[in-house]
């Protein structure tokens, strides 16, 4: 573990800006930095300006916010559940959100802002179901972090099955849209979509920062939290709801992107950040960095094809997950 230093924070923000700039430069075609600045300041040629302003910039902004939202959600869920493997994707929250979004999409709802609502309902149903399944495992198994994880994986698999059934008779448009959700992507980013996610991120992100001291206390266990004055059930429920809202908003905006919420809080903890206010804030920055980078890889790894963003994060996340799981023995 690295000792925490005051310069880590400005360095992380600088790295985020640097990576965001890289997100503007690299793509199907590489745009030199000078042209990027010209496009931003209004002095570039029309085509480059259009690419930078209406395609790449909203894409980078959306990727940063997706990363921030998923990482904040993961940091809060890990603390509240006292489970170092918790994250919205593995708990089935994102899968539930995708079911909500796909069903709403099939019914003709297409707007990111309004899709977040059915996605949120789906996420809440999923997290409730995962907790019920874990509870059914009995008192002894309930204390094992892997029990809830397994429940989440089962709920995620069920969510996938529901989506498949929903797609069985769907039109090609719905099918394409739904597949996009299941693989995760920020390729279709627009400023409107980014602003909607920004709105959800702003409200729910601030709520999580406000809840951070509660999460610090919940992380000690139910009895210790109650001894310190936490209304354990209410606090846990609130953290779940806000974390699920963040995850649902990312699903509505960019589909299923796994493992960001798992990896990022561990990276931030490696820098000696332990209390949840700093952990959640740090996770927002590092989450943004990670997803922008993953999107740059998705765009440039196998040109001219573009990889699904969710596949790139899974390729990084699965080995990380296995290492963490191994350490739990």
């Amino acid at each position: 573990m690295i000792a925490p230093r005051a310069w880590h924070w400005p360095a992380a923000v600088a790295l985020l800006l640097f990576v965001a700039l890289a997100g503007l430069v690299f793509g199907v075609s590489t745009i030199p930095l000078s042209e990027i600045f010209a496009a931003i300041t209004g002095g570039g040629d029309e085509t480059t300006t259009t690419i930078v302003r209406t395609l790449r910039a909203p894409r980078v902004a959306l990727a940063a916010m997706v990363g921030a939202a998923l990482a904040m959600s993961g940091a809060a869920l890990q603390g509240a559940l006292r489970n170092s493997l918790a994250e919205p994707y593995l708990l089935g929250v994102s899968g539930g959100a995708a079911v909500g979004a796909v069903l709403a999409f099939g019914l003709g709802l297409q707007h990111t802002g309004s899709l977040a609502i059915p996605a949120f309902v789906g996420a809440i149903v999923a997290v409730g179901a995962a907790l019920l399944v874990a509870r059914a495992a009995g008192r002894a198994a309930r204390g094992d972090p892997r029990t809830l994880l397994m429940a989440g994986v089962i709920i995620g698999a069920f969510a996938n099955a529901v989506i498949m059934v929903a797609l069985a008779n769907s039109t090609s448009d719905t099918l394409r849209g739904s597949l996009w959700w299941m693989m995760g992507s920020v390729a279709d980013a627009s400023w409107a979509g980014a602003l909607w996610l920004g709105l959800y991120l702003g409200v729910a992100g601030l709520a999580l920062l406000r809840l951070a001291p509660e999460i610090d206390v919940l992380a000690l266990g139910e009895e210790a939290a109650a001894a310190l004055g936490s209304d354990v059930e209410r606090a846990t429920r609130t953290v779940f709801l806000v974390s699920a809202l963040l995850a649902a908003a990312t699903v509505a905006a960019a589909g299923l992107i796994g493992f960001v919420g798992l990896i990022v809080p561990h990276i931030v903890r490696a820098f000696g950040v332990r209390r949840h206010r700093r952990l959640i804030a740090g996770s927002a920055i590092v989450g943004g960095i990670l997803v922008i980078l993953a999107d740059v890889v998705a765009r440039t790894a196998l040109p001219p094809a573009e990889l699904p963003l969710g596949a790139v994060t899974a390729l990084i996340g699965v080995p990380f997950f296995l290492v963490r799981l191994g350490r739990m023995r």
């Binding site: 000690l220 139910e222 009895e223």
Partner: protein
């Protein structure tokens, strides 16, 4: 003073109650030891005090106030509880951990000078100044228990409840912890301590409460409660009681079965 009045607690779906009409009190200025065999209801009483198990009947009074009427934060400002179990999935630095004792007083995003003073005082009383930069997962069992007591002291309450604080501690650490708890009680705190170690608590407690199957079967000074016939009946094991030559405290010796 912590007073339990005819407290009955029944786990969901259980035929018989885990605590059955228990009445006793932990007075200010002394250690009251709550003892009894496994499953006698000791930890259930602590969970009921914390509000983790609802009371079927009876009430718990904290300096005369009904615990049921107190919000959880208000409870934590009156009584500090060091539960038996605590999870350290995400370790903290000791200074961060002790600071969590100020959670019941937290408002908004900042901490107050009162918080800093309370933490400093708790650190001094528990004598853990040398541990502040360490991580909670790097502490020995004895250090960890002292740090947990320091966190409880940061709550600045007049009442302290400890659930099995000396489990897994070696002799020096358990004695050192009990000396600390004894000094806190001598300073005026009402201390309720759940323990399995009858010989140990008999030397420090001013009062012992013996539970069996959820009921109080003996309540009094250690010399009164440490009665061979009573303990043999409760623990279902042959026992002799002698006196410690140095302190005069009763000493229990379980016999080998022939």
């Amino acid at each position: 003073m912590i007073r339990f009045e005819s407290v009955t607690v029944r786990y969901h779906g259980a035929a018989s109650p885990a605590v059955d009409g228990a009445s006793f009190a932990a007075a200010d200025g002394g250690i009251t030891a709550l003892v009894g065999p496994n499953g006698s209801g000791k930890s259930t009483i602590v969970r009921a005090l914390l509000g983790r198990e609802p009371l079927e009947s009876g009430r718990i009074l904290l300096d005369g106030s009904d615990r049921g009427a107190l919000k959880q934060r208000e409870l934590a400002r009156r009584v500090a509880v060091v539960p038996q179990r605590e999870e350290t999935v995400f370790p903290l630095e000791v200074r961060e951990y002790v600071a969590l004792g100020r959670y019941p007083y937290s408002r908004g995003l900042t901490s107050s000078p009162d918080d800093a003073r309370a933490i400093q005082r708790a650190v001094e009383r528990a004598e853990i100044a040398g541990l502040l930069q360490r991580r909670t997962d790097e502490l020995s069992g004895g250090e960890w228990q002292r740090v947990r007591v320091a966190r409880a002291l940061a709550q600045e309450t007049g009442m302290l409840v400890l659930d099995e604080p000396t489990t897994f501690l070696d002799i020096a650490h358990e004695m050192s912890l009990l000396e600390l708890v004894h000094s806190l009680a001598a300073g005026g705190m009402a201390v309720l301590m759940v323990s399995h170690q009858l010989n140990l608590v008999a030397r420090f407690a001013s009062r012992m409460v013996l539970l069996s199957r959820g009921r109080v079967v003996a309540d009094g000074a250690p010399v009164e409660v440490m009665d061979a016939a009573t303990l043999e009946a409760v623990y279902d094991w042959p026992i002799v009681i002698s006196r410690d030559a140095a302190s005069g405290a009763p000493v229990l010796l379980p016999l080998r079965k022939r």
